[in-house]
């Protein structure tokens, strides 16, 4: 089987012989490529080490877990490179997002994510405009100002949990959320 023969590759890993199963009527032919690059690529493919664990070349440095209550006292700026996110920053993020981290591991994962994102700084983007949409070279079009749909208030109200007549009912909005994010009690059993 040409395919199977061609598929045999030596690798440092114990998984040496690779048999590729193909239906008998396969017409995948073995190449007799003359191009230098093709042979070079083939050699390259064979010489490259087998899959390593994880993502070695892009491993992000382990962020240090910020123990709760250990405020650094420095102004809340972007990460200083040590991987720590100040407690005030954590609270600020929770406040903005209205979700909380829930655990130290989650904070540690954020720190890893941030450290991971640091790699972007290595790219030279002088004179490069930010790309917002791949369709930026096209005009955003307008449609004619005619009412085409609507009149579905009832349908939409049906999806809400708490409705009174045609109003969505919300709890009082003039109460701020101090520290409540970190101390949200479990849902009351009602």
């Amino acid at each position: 089987m040409a395919m199977a023969a061609a598929a045999t590759a030596t690798a440092a890993h114990s998984n040496v012989v690779i048999r590729v199963r193909v239906a008998p009527s396969s017409s995948l032919r073995r190449s007799r490529s003359k191009e230098m690059w093709a042979r070079a690529m083939w050699v390259r493919f064979r010489a490259a080490p087998d899959r390593g664990r994880g993502f070695a070349s892009k491993a992000s440095p382990q962020g240090q877990v910020q123990a709760a209550g250990q405020g650094t006292g420095t102004p809340s700026l972007a990460l200083q490179g040590s991987g720590r996110v100040p407690t005030e920053k954590i609270e600020h993020l929770e406040r903005l997002a209205l979700v909380n981290f829930g655990s130290r591991e989650a904070v540690a994962r954020l720190e890893k994510a941030i450290a991971f994102a640091e790699q972007l700084q290595a790219v030279d983007t002088d004179g490069v405009e930010p790309l917002e949409s791949v369709l930026e070279n096209r005009c955003l079009y307008l449609r004619s100002d005619n009412v085409a749909e609507g009149n579905c208030a009832e349908e939409l109200l049906q999806n809400s949990n708490h409705v009174v007549e045609e109003y969505f009912v919300a709890p009082p909005g003039n109460i701020s959320l101090p520290d409540m994010v970190n101390r949200i009690p479990s849902p009351t059993a009602e």
């Binding site: 899959r51 070349s57 903005l96 954020l110």
Partner: protein, 524 residues
């Protein structure tokens, strides 16, 4: 009949060899038999049977709507479907019933397709394994295939070594791979259609950004999301794409150019093509089997007269980081709509609006989603905005430029792997967290989303564990037709084998013949 192509089944329906109701019942019964795969969140049995009835009436009157009339399809559960629960595999939307159909769903229904159900996914489409949804993980049908079971060393009856289906559209992939439908919709933001397609041995197509409407697709990253298509062969993909593509007034990011997609010719000549092999995609983590297949595929094109050259996409190594920042930032924005007030889960806490929002979001979202929201908010902080978000947008432009330069230099199609390895066992997959896995698994697929290009994963061969391996073809923007043409040629050359599933073989109505499924009797 379930193993046939869309066109063949459509012809059979027209000739009366099979009726939509029979097809529908067959698929429903198979869905029940393969329930352990956990591919479906909702099975819309009544809806499907009713649609089948209507389709049958149309066929009797000789007024079928087209190639998709009476054909069972499935839809990923982040597409809105009127009257059918749409959950995004999240507690936040459990019980949510949209009042409208996503445009792509509507288009399928308008063509008479039968909606079998909503498929499972990673929560809010965040993930690369379909393991992080609240309804549980999706199992790869190939875990139970004869081809794999013959090769693996574990006890036949031990189910703990089942493999992931890939993600985040794993349920859609599993549903098509297990023959419970002929086509399924997925979404593709970083590879979420191509990744599970490769793991499940299917054709997974990502259209050009702006070609297919996103209206009704619950958004993850507005600038990168597209609906994706799963089928068992490229011809079927072309049929579905022909129906879905086109301007939608409800989605202002769809282009207004007239889209003309015609049937892909059966005889394709690749000798005039230029195939590019991006050298930066040859990474150490790539499995030697896939490396070998990639190389052979390149040789194959060359032996048929195509020009195959090495190209460079210099910013490849930064694309994962760039994606990570942009994705989390857009997620932080998109997830802000979930506050419990107008739809979805609402917490019982009602001390104040903010407390209610916070509790609702705490209860409704899982760890993965919450962490992405928090990361995104970090990158969007005023002090970080320039250094992270805008910087990532600039890098995105550089990545797009890389592709444009390569295509401008005469390359028609790029050939790359889709995944680093074949599908891994679930127990191994969960050893790393979601973000790490996504960063690893998306490496070949997500740069395409950043550039908005069309791409397709074509199943190529089985690994020595008997599991599918796919390769990816990337085309120029809005050259989806050309891309599918090349993919069809490639598919014909590699002759990927049909999955041999015990459930199908036990079912008396299907027998295996030279690796191709043929129908024996449908009267049951």
């Amino acid at each position: 009949m379930l193993g046939r192509t869309l066109r063949e089944v459509s012809a059979a329906l027209k000739q009366g060899q099979v009726t939509p109701t029979e097809l529908c019942k067959k698929c429903l019964s198979l869905i029940k038999k393969t329930k352990y795969l956990n591919a479906y969140i909702t099975v819309s049995e009544e809806v499907a049977l009713k649609q089948a009835e209507e389709s049958e009436r149309r066929y009797k009157q000789g007024q079928s709507l087209g190639d998709l009339d009476g054909i069972p399809v499935a839809v990923k559960d982040n597409f809105s479907t009127a009257g059918i629960e749409t959950t995004c595999a999240s507690n936040m939307l459990k019980g949510y019933i949209p009042p409208y159909n996503a445009t792509v769903v509507q288009k399928l229904l308008d063509q008479g397709a039968l909606l079998m159900g909503k498929t499972n996914l990673d929560e809010f489409a965040m993930g690369s394994g379909s393991t992080d949804g609240v309804f549980g993980p999706v199992k790869n049908p190939w875990s139970y295939s004869k081809q794999h079971r013959e090769r693996r060393r574990h006890d036949e009856h031990d189910d703990s070594h089942w493999l992931i289906a890939g993600g985040s559209s794993g349920g859609s992939a599993a549903s098509v791979a297990a023959f419970t439908c002929f086509a399924a919709l997925g979404s593709d933001t970083g590879g979420s259609t191509r990744n599970p397609a490769a793991h499940c041995g299917l054709v997974g197509f990502k259209p050009s950004y702006g070609l297919v409407s996103r209206h009704g697709l619950i958004p993850l990253v507005n600038s990168m999301d597209v609906p994706g298509i799963f089928t068992r062969c490229v011809d079927d993909t072309a049929i579905v794409l022909g129906i879905l593509a086109g301007h939608d007034p409800k989605d202002s990011t769809t282009v207004q150019d007239p889209i003309k997609l015609s049937r892909i010719p059966s005889e394709v000549d690749v000798s005039g093509l230029c195939i590019g092999i991006p050298k930066e995609y040859l990474v150490p983590e790539l499995s030697s089997e896939i490396r070998s297949l990639w190389s052979q595929a390149a040789d194959l094109f060359e032996s048929e007269g195509a020009k195959v050259i090495e190209v460079s996409l210099p910013h490849t190594s930064y694309s994962i980081v760039c994606y990570h920042v942009l994705c989390t930032s857009e997620v932080a924005s998109n997830m802000a709509r979930f506050d419990g007030l107008q739809y979805g889960h609402r917490s019982g806490i009602d001390v104040s609006t903010e407390a209610m929002y916070a509790a609702t979001r705490q209860e409704g979202f899982n760890d993965v989603v919450r962490e992405r929201i928090l990361s995104g908010n970090f990158f969007l902080l005023k002090e970080n905005y320039e250094n992270y978000f805008v910087k990532a947008q600039k890098v995105r432009r550089l990545i797009l430029r890389d592709f444009v330069n390569v295509f401008d230099s005469g390359v028609d199609v790029l050939l790359t792997p889709t995944t680093l390895t074949e599908a891994v066992p679930y127990l191994e997959f969960i050893k790393e967290d979601n973000r790490t896995r996504s960063a690893q698994d998306d490496i070949f697929t997500q740069a395409v989303n950043m550039a908005g290009l069309p791409a397709v994963s074509v199943p190529v061969a089985l690994s020595n564990q008997g599991l599918p391996i796919g390769l990816q073809l990337i085309g120029r923007a809005f050259c989806d037709q050309q891309l599918l043409t090349v993919a069809k040629w490639f598919e014909k050359q590699v002759q990927f084998p049909v999955i041999q599933l015990q459930d199908l073989m036990d079912d008396g109505s299907l027998i295996l013949e030279n690796g191709k499924l043929t129908s024996v009797s449908l009267t049951q």
